[in-house]
């Protein structure tokens, strides 16, 4: 679906992309990882036809620069930093839905599913929403339309665990028909969402590998934790993950999204000295 051949991009005296070769097919979910300045954003902008570049870029055999509207009508995009738009939420949804030939109610329903009531905020300027609300709305706009490629820059960064789980479910619904390119600084943030990893460093692809995708994106893990003693900071962290406790606050239980297991275990590791027992089992 996506083909990049010998793609290079130069800004003044610096080569930001150096002869990149990459092919991505439908059904592939690719993590684009790398540190700041690796060239991830530039690569995405070239794919979206926003930058001129040397070499060949095609999406379904069409140059995104030349066949801009046709190509972009197939791509749902979530940027890393939400744009500081002053227009009201309702106006933004209406505008995006009209351009993408979609239905604004479809986008509003998705936002509601993610925990953001876009209808209630329709008169609120987009720029005045919280980081999480903006992220949810932009995800709803990207997913609430027919697309064949999803390009997302740190899509789950500002989301709470519940919204993350719903996002994983929404992505799971699209994974057979849609290619996904998910950019992140860290692999552990997106590893559970993808089946292929492309790592960039200083404008070059330094790693291109498949990853095991045994974890279903819509799977859930039932989890119970026993602690040696109650701890307010740990209690707060578990509450954020939606865990419930008994009266003594030493036994906790809850459900986490399957793709979130690495992130959850990372959080638990900070309190490992307090934990006396953990049980995690997949709930099919």
């Amino acid at each position: 679906m996506i083909k990049l051949a010998k793609v290079s991009k130069r800004f003044k005296n610096s080569d930001v992309l150096k002869s990149i070769d990459l092919e991505i097919n439908r059904g592939q979910r690719v993590a684009l990882v790398g540190s700041n300045g690796a060239g991830k954003t530039t690569l995405i902008r070239c794919l979206l036809g926003e930058y001129n570049s040397q070499g060949l870029i095609t999406i379904d055999n069409q140059d995104p620069r030349e066949f801009r509207q046709q190509v972009l009508s197939k791509i749902g995009f979530v940027p890393q930093l939400p744009p500081p738009l002053r227009m009201p939420v309702g106006q933004l949804v209406q505008f995006a839905a009209s351009l993408c030939k979609s239905d604004k109610e479809r986008m509003n329903n998705l936002a509601e599913k993610l925990g953001f009531d876009a209808r209630a905020f329709k008169h609120q300027p987009f720029v005045k929403l919280s980081g999480g609300q903006k992220q949810k709305l932009l995800i709803s706009i990207a997913l609430g339309r027919d697309s064949e490629l999803l390009v997302m820059d740190e899509p789950a960064a500002n989301l709470d665990p519940e919204a993350r789980h719903i996002l994983f479910e929404l992505l799971a619904e699209k994974q057979e028909t849609t290619a996904m390119l998910i950019s992140s600084h860290r692999l552990d943030e997106v590893s559970s969402l993808v089946n292929r990893v492309v790592e960039m460093d200083q404008g070059e692809i330094v790693l291109d590998d498949n990853v095991s995708d045994l974890i279903g994106m819509s799977s859930k893990l039932v989890c119970s934790i026993n602690m040696l003693e109650a701890d307010p900071a740990f209690a707060k962290a578990l509450s954020i993950w939606g865990f419930k406790t008994q009266a003594n606050e030493t036994s906790w239980s809850g459900v986490i999204a399957g793709p979130d297991r690495l992130k959850f275990l990372g959080m638990l590791s900070r309190y490992s000295a307090l934990i006396s027992g953990i049980n995690m089992s997949e709930n099919s």
Binding site: L48, E50, R68, Q70, P82, R86, C100, V151
Partner: protein
């Protein structure tokens, strides 16, 4: 066409909520209020009294502040949007570049012209309520001139925004552009240049090329039909154009100049990196 109007509408909504627009609208509305408050409509100068006197003063003030306002707000918001990532997101949606660019241009034109026009129309409306004699010819003529001046400087502003990559550079370039045009507005400077052996034809050409000078001369024409204030240049202008011809030129030329700038901006925008 639908995308063009959607983009224009969006730009209007964005601008209406921007701080610069509040300042911009307040300045022009404030000028009219101040002119009324100071009783300018009651005073008399060169035979002008009532609303005509107020409109003459309003148009002179507009000439001084409209160009720099339009230039700075245009380059600030366009280049600022690019820097802040608005272009990156909005241009990832399936909108054609022509609909996006011209939609923004039209939206921006409406937003810079309307406050100036509404302030002037408000003055006329107040005159109607008070039963004053309304100088409709003057009103129509000034509307045309303000429209042409807004269009012209909007085109220049869009060109500067497209050529520069940061809002700081864009603002600097806009200010210098305005300053250069302002310098050539100064008849003293033109006089010095003639003293330094600049041919009179060149001086007249400069006066005819500078959209601010064209606007100024045209507004002068109404209360000084022989252009006595302009000195010998007046002969060349009146001989070559006639009064009606020059008024038409003063409306058409800035619009064409602004359109050339906007078209150049569009072609550069289309070929360059977008965000």
């Amino acid at each position: 066409m639908k995308h063009l109007w959607l983009t224009a509408y969006n730009d209007i909504i964005e601008s209406l909520r921007a701080r610069w627009f509040v300042v911009y609208a307040t300045v022009f509305g404030g000028i009219v209020v101040i002119l009324f408050a100071f009783g300018l409509s009651e005073s008399r100068i060169m035979g002008f009294t009532g609303l005509s006197r107020l409109l003459v003063t309003y148009i002179q003030l507009s000439m001084a502040i409209l160009p720099i306002f339009v230039l700075i707000t245009t380059v600030r918001s366009v280049a600022g949007d690019r820097e802040a990532g608005v272009f990156e997101y909005m241009l990832s949606l399936p909108v054609s570049l022509s609909a996006w660019f011209w939609g923004r241009f039209i939206g921006r034109f409406i937003i810079v012209f309307l406050p100036v026009f509404i302030a002037m129309a408000g003055a006329v409306g107040w005159g109607v309520i008070k039963g004053s004699e309304i100088p409709w010819n003057l009103f129509m003529f000034y509307t045309g001139l303000l429209m042409a001046l807004s269009w012209c400087f909007l085109g220049i502003g869009m060109l500067i925004s497209t050529l520069t990559r940061s809002s700081d550079v864009a603002q600097g370039a806009a200010f210098i552009t305005w300053l250069v045009l302002l310098l050539f507005l100064d008849l003293i400077l033109l006089g010095v240049m003639i003293q330094e052996n600049l041919s009179p034809e060149m001086a007249v050409t400069l006066a005819l090329v500078n959209p601010m000078q064209v606007f100024r001369t045209a507004t002068m024409m109404l209360f000084d039909p022989q252009l006595v204030l302009l000195g010998p240049t007046a002969y060349v202008i009146l001989d070559n154009f006639s009064q009606a011809g020059y008024i038409a030129y003063a409306i058409i030329y800035p619009m064409v100049f602004g359109m050339i700038c906007a078209l150049s901006a569009y072609f550069i925008f289309k070929r360059s990196d977008l965000p």
